[in-house]
């Protein structure tokens, strides 16, 4: 059985983590990402890819219900971890690793878990399997209704698919759900809502190094979405150094990151022109966020710096309308860029 034990420990060494941030749990998320990277664990792109589900912060009831559905989608062997405070991240991940390696626990979990997906809504639960064989002439195979058509932007008729983006999506603002109607991968209408509790407005009150770290984290998420994992991990390392309080190294890393990102012509080609016309595009917002982070490092403690976004704060409805007519990749980039201007509000700082 030595081979089996070795394989299990190899598998646990390469675990993929799906990190979910409850609104207000951003400090916990930074700590969890840092702890996962220190263990050599990769961030998972989707629940199917994940072995460990890490929930950072305190989710509300609605978010907790959604997280249970996500938990169902992890193929297993799987482990769940709750990070309630930044210092507890390492411990939580270590416990998750132990659970992953525990064969008996995993076997029991495999026996006792749901084998079929949970019904979508209570009223659509048609009693399960006997309905599946009778879907001739019924426009809803397996209980899911087919998409209906609608005119698309060229005037042709095309199917409309309703999709909810978030709240559990990598590099996605915490608690945001964007209900989009897609034709192909172009968004024709969008509505934004929040899960896990509303965010309150108010003065943020973060110290400059923490502000810079938060901005750099937003930059890292945008770089991940732009498909540049190297720059994103560099940004995350900068964020961790800034959180540690080491301003000298942090400043050096940050300036290096800023020049690297600014120099990249390919990135400029890809991100230029994205976003509502007349407003700064994604590339400009990216560079602006980096510039503000550098600026924050130069401020003294207690200096509030500039306020929240200079854009006049688009808000969720403005965000939803900004995404209409864009295709999915552009939507993700625009949402991440809009998030760059946000700083955590007072409620989130206090710890939601």
């Amino acid at each position: 059985m030595d081979v089996r034990a070795r394989l299990t420990s190899a598998a646990v060494r390469a675990a993929h983590v799906l990190v979910v941030e409850a609104p207000g749990g951003w400090r916990e998320r930074f700590a969890a990402e840092r702890a996962a990277a220190a263990r050599g664990w990769t961030p998972a792109a989707s629940p199917a890819d994940a072995d460990v589900l890490v929930v950072c912060g305190a989710p509300g009831d609605d978010l907790a219900a959604l997280l249970d559905r996500v938990w169902d989608q992890l193929p297993g062997p799987r482990a769940r971890a709750q990070v309630r405070s930044p210092t507890g991240a390492g411990q939580a991940l270590a416990e998750a690793a132990a659970l992953l390696a525990d064969e008996r626990h995993q076997r029991r979990d495999a026996r006792e878990r749901r084998q079929e997906p949970a019904p979508l809504h209570g009223d659509m639960d048609h009693g399960g399997t006997d309905h599946g064989g009778m879907d001739h002439g019924d426009m809803a195979p397996a209980g899911i209704p087919l998409a209906s058509g609608g005119p698309d932007r060229d005037g042709l008729e095309m199917d409309v698919l309703h999709l909810s983006l978030g709240p559990v999506l990598p590099s996605w603002p915490a608690g945001l759900v964007l209900d989009v109607a897609l034709q192909g991968d172009v968004v024709v209408s969008a509505e934004a809502r929040h899960v896990g509790g509303p965010t309150a407005e108010g003065h943020h009150g973060l110290e400059p190094p923490e502000r810079a770290a938060y901005r750099v984290d937003g930059v890292a998420r945008l770089l991940d979405l732009a498909g540049w994992p190297d720059a994103a991990s560099r940004a995350r390392r900068t964020r961790d150094v800034l959180l540690d309080g080491d301003s000298a190294t942090g400043h050096r890393l940050l300036v290096g990151l800023r020049s690297r990102v600014g120099r990249s012509r390919l990135l400029r080609w890809q991100l230029r022109g994205l976003g509502p016309p007349g407003r700064p595009d994604v590339h400009d917002r990216l560079l602006r966020a980096l510039a503000r982070a550098v600026d924050d490092l130069g401020r003294d403690a207690g200096d509030p710096g500039d306020g929240t976004s200079e854009d006049g704060g688009a808000g969720p409805d403005g965000l939803a309308s900004a995404t209409v007519g864009l295709e999915l990749a552009a939507v993700r980039l625009v949402v991440a860029a809009a998030d760059l201007d946000r700083l955590p509000t007072r409620r989130e700082v206090v710890g939601g």
Binding site: A10, V12, D224, L225, G227, W228, D230, S233, L266, L333
Partner: protein, 311 residues
């Protein structure tokens, strides 16, 4: 006509093992490079392929509601099969598993099989993100395929034959990569693109929750990931007789040189992922048709003029 001895089909598994070994090496290199950017020690990250294989073999398979199982699994496996079939025509020194008179067209056909494979993998999962990934790949493929096809015609025009061994032999003295740089560059872009790698990975991108990989787990996921690396290695291996002089080189025997050149080119292609952000299909389409295609056509014109001039 260059001399290539066709080995018996019993050696085909050895060729497959070489490709898989190359894929392993590529995965290890990628692990080391990504470990370096996250700050992990090199030894630990070079073990990444072992750990990932162990993890994926231990992970359970899953499916979605009303997934088209046949198409999904066929698409997932077809990437690896296409890669293995691609190297069938590459001569290792003076041995080849198959010596086709139209070896270049065979390679082209196999890389078109990847079109079908990735789309099927995207479609079969019955998931929005997965489908978007499949269609992103088709959009990108429509942009890179024509330049790639024309880049693949440049060496045969210079060598006067579609046979891979003839093309390798026609490069004595000066490699094609040196005097057909545009064709070589476009070929490398094509290889990275059909492997869904690096700058051309939006089909499996993080912004659509992994795209074609979104609903895969366990052995199915392992097959697709191995397929990606295998395609990179197979593309690099095919570039050796086409652009890098085949087995020519001092001191070492021909087959060693083929392996060395493949390894170097594959390493360069793996490392490209680190340096550049992703190129989205909607931004790449115009670049492929309006910039790359005319450049490659000009390249083929230049090569044809030189070939006619040489006699």
């Amino acid at each position: 006509m260059a001399d290539v001895s066709v080995v018996s089909p019993a050696w085909a598994p050895a060729a497959a093992l070489l490709v898989l070994g190359g894929a392993w090496g590529a995965a290890a290199l990628d692990g080391v490079l990504s470990g370096r950017s996250t700050g992990l020690p090199g030894r630990a990250s070079s073990r990444r392929p072992v750990d990932e294989v162990a993890r994926l073999m231990r992970q359970r398979r899953r499916t979605t509601v009303r997934a088209d199982g046949l198409l999904w699994r066929v698409g997932g496996a077809a990437m690896l099969v296409a890669a293995l079939l691609m190297v069938v025509v590459v001569p290792l020194g003076s041995w080849a598993v198959a010596d086709l008179a139209v070896g270049v067209v065979w390679f082209n056909t196999m890389d078109v099989v990847v079109w079908a494979a990735v789309w099927l993998a995207g479609w079969g999962a019955n998931s929005a993100h997965s489908l978007v990934g499949g269609y992103r790949f088709l959009a990108q493929a429509l942009a890179y395929e024509l330049p790639l096809m024309f880049a693949l015609t440049a060496p045969p025009v210079a060598a006067g034959s579609l046979r891979v061994a003839d093309i390798a032999a026609a490069q004595d003295g000066l490699w094609f990569a040196v005097w057909m740089p545009v064709a070589f560059g476009v070929y490398c872009i094509g290889v990275v693109a059909f492997s869904v790698w690096g700058p051309f990975a939006p089909a499996a991108g993080a912004d659509i929750a992994g795209g074609v990989l979104a609903e895969l787990s366990g052995v199915d996921r392992l097959l697709v990931l191995v397929g990606r690396y295998a395609l990179l290695v197979a593309g690099a291996a095919f570039a050796v007789p086409m652009f890098l002089g085949g087995g020519s080189g001092p001191l070492l025997p021909a087959w060693t040189w083929v392996l060395v050149k493949t390894a170097l080119l594959a390493a360069a292609l793996v490392a490209v992922r680190r340096r550049v952000p992703a190129v989205r299909p909607d931004r790449f389409v115009e670049a492929g048709w309006v910039v790359l295609l005319p450049l490659v056509l000009l390249q083929v014109l230049v090569v044809a003029v030189i070939a006619v001039g040489r006699g």
